[in-house]
């Protein structure tokens, strides 16, 4: 026993030593290489002036801002396209997954064809197809496709009317939050009443009333602080409205369509994983199909669906880094692309980029583990 212990300890010491020695060697090489090539090191560059423009910024940004702010702008762009991508991919993916299980043969086959096409073609190809093949091939702004003279689609992107919010708009925000909270409260109350008195209580009518009342109050307090900003053509481009750049549209479209195919398969597998007997037992108890789905099938399917679904969300977020191929200003594109070519500090820049993704991943898997622990079925269910 003792000798084994010693042998293990020795083995580990050797591995550790080898790794450390390797690291030291690499760091030494990096140092001498950097010195020889006269490249700075350290993160000082983050506070220097960036000096380049970014064509989509969620926060105020000018060329005079620092590289540090560039990181924030890029990260926000990554998050924007990821969150929206997750939203649309989930919507489409769940629909396709359910369609795949439809009793209707045609619907199921159409869903299958979609899934097989979209998941077997590289995402980068799909992104470039939408960007170079479709969006950049659209007519110029002067010949833009117009939808009701208010929304324009051209090779400069999609321009939509936008509500310009004035000073009192915050009251409307408060009213909206109130409606959401009221909706949740009404649903909870309805469930409670159902359990306590057996009677269902109304949800929709009081909610409509509440919505009306809250927005009326907001209007009284703040008037109508919105002006509708409708885009119009001036010279060679559009003025006003909100311009969604084609890079964003292409990336969002490709990410959503691609990931939806994977989500559809996950949803299908999750629903299939619920034993047929569960539906039969619900039916035999007299539960209508819709309630059986809501109370029995979906809660069980979700346990199977959610872990792989989260990893698809993570994949989508990581895949949004392909933005660099079409120059959508996400974190990789602004950091490992533009910033790197200006500053040249490859080690630091790649390190920062990787750390950002790594922390997103670790955060998600931590949350996932928590969820799995909470959701684990008690006992070994038959």
């Amino acid at each position: 026993m003792r000798s084994w212990l010693n042998r293990d300890a020795l083995l580990q010491a050797i591995v550790l030593l080898a790794v450390v020695a390797g690291m030291v060697w690499l760091v030494g090489n990096v140092q001498s290489n950097l010195e020889r090539q006269n490249i700075n090191s350290g993160f000082g560059f983050l506070s220097e002036r960036a000096g380049f423009g970014i064509n989509q910024t969620l926060i105020d940004y000018t060329e005079d801002d620092s590289f540090g702010r560039v990181v924030v702008v890029g990260l926000l762009n990554t998050l924007l396209v990821s969150v929206l991508g997750i939203f649309f991919a989930t919507l489409l993916g769940f629909s396709l997954g359910v369609a795949r299980l439809s009793r209707n043969w045609l619907i199921s086959k159409i869903a299958m064809v979609y899934i097989e096409i979209f998941r077997n073609v590289p995402l980068l190809l799909q992104i470039m197809f939408w960007y170079f093949g479709v969006l950049r091939n659209l007519p110029s702004p002067r010949q833009a496709l117009s939808i009701g003279e208010a929304m324009f689609v051209s090779n400069r992107g999609v321009v939509v009317p936008w509500l310009e919010a004035g000073a009192g708009a915050v009251w409307y925000g408060v009213a909206f939050a109130g409606v959401l909270a009221g909706g949740f409260w009404l649903r909870r109350r309805a469930l409670k009443m159902k359990l306590n008195t057996g009677q269902a209580s109304r949800v929709w009518r009081p909610l409509a009333l509440l919505t009306l009342a809250l927005f009326a109050v907001a209007a009284l307090l703040a008037g109508v602080p919105f002006t509708l900003d409708v885009p119009y053509l001036k010279g060679f481009n559009f003025r006003g409205g909100l311009t969604v750049i084609p890079e964003f549209v292409a990336l969002l479209l490709a990410l959503s369509l691609y990931t939806a195919a994977f989500i559809a398969e996950i949803v299908r597998a999750g629903i299939n994983a619920v034993d047929k007997g569960q539906r039969e037992a619900s039916a035999a108890l007299g539960l209508p199909e819709s309630l059986a789905l809501r109370l029995v099938v979906i809660p069980q399917a979700l346990r199977v669906i959610i872990p792989p679904l989260t990893s698809q969300y993570l994949n989508l977020t990581k895949n949004s880094s392909l933005a660099v191929a079409i120059a959508y200003p996400d974190i990789v594109s602004v950091l490992a692309g533009t910033t790197l070519s200006q500053v040249g500090q490859a080690v630091e820049i790649i390190f920062v980029t990787m750390m950002i993704y790594l922390s997103l991943s670790l955060l998600t898997s931590w949350a996932m583990n928590r969820y799995n622990q909470r959701m684990a079925l008690v006992g070994n269910a038959s």
Partner: protein, 246 residues
């Protein structure tokens, strides 16, 4: 004799081109206990699953409590909540506690309050002799306990008729008795029961009639005494000699 609660006449069913049930005729009176037996694949499960329309028949008539089961039905759920069913594989809901399993349908189908439903559930859990397992999950129970929960869950809907599809065949021998005891008690209380089982002792003890099926047909039906001691049909004899010999 009271009006039959179940009336099956000239009923035929196919799975695709396979003729599973052939010209079935059967009437069951209120309070009657029927045991159905027969070799594997003879259509026993299919027959009782037609009675709460988990399977659809193609020809003939099935009438349950005066309502005819067919494609144009509106109130399928109300028939189903009057006909309880217990499955071979229990089919408890693994994500709900025993109590929640039992209260689910009373709350959502019968619009009972949670309090009423729980009181009722505890009462039936007591009757199937597992009052102290109410807050456990199905995965934490033994097979026999799970099947008794399944019976309690069905009883919570106050059904007029109970269907059992081989309720003891997935159980270890020592658990069979605890489930059968519950079923005997239920029979003594006057429940109308249709039970697919090969527990011949149970059949002798409670059945009013025993039905033997083969190849999708009712081959023979008789009172248990006569059925076991003096089967009329040589197919029945052969089957009984196989079942009783071990």
């Amino acid at each position: 004799m009271t009006d039959p609660v179940i009336r099956i006449s000239n009923m035929n069913k196919w799975f695709g081109t396979f003729h599973v049930l052939r010209d079935i005729n059967l009437q069951v009176a209120a309070g009657e206990k029927i045991v159905i037996c027969g070799p594997s694949g003879s259509g026993k499960s299919t027959l009782i699953r037609c009675l709460n329309r988990l399977e659809h028949h193609q020809e003939g008539h099935i009438e349950v409590e005066g309502v005819s089961l067919d494609g144009s039905m509106k109130n399928l759920e109300s028939i189903r909540s009057n006909v309880g069913m217990v499955f071979q594989q229990f089919n408890l809901f693994p994500h709900m506690s025993v109590l929640e399993n039992c209260t689910l349908a009373p709350i959502w189908v019968k619009q009972k309050t949670k309090q009423e439903a729980e009181a009722l559930a505890r009462q039936f859990l007591e009757r199937v002799r597992i009052p102290d397992q109410a807050d456990k999950y199905p995965g934490q129970l033994s097979g026999g306990q799970q099947q008794r929960v399944a019976i309690a869950r069905a009883l919570c809907m106050n059904p007029d008729i109970m269907l059992f599809d081989e309720p003891t065949s997935a159980l270890d021998p020592e658990m069979i008795k605890e489930v059968l005891d519950v079923m005997v008690e239920l029979a003594e209380d006057g429940m109308t029961m249709l039970c697919v089982t090969h527990e011949m002792g149970f059949a002798r003890q409670v059945a009013d009639r025993v039905i033997f099926m083969d190849e999708g047909e009712i081959v023979e039906e008789n009172e248990p005494e006569a059925f076991f001691s003096n089967p009329q049909n040589e197919r029945t004899k052969m089957f009984l000699s196989q079942v009783l010999s071990h």
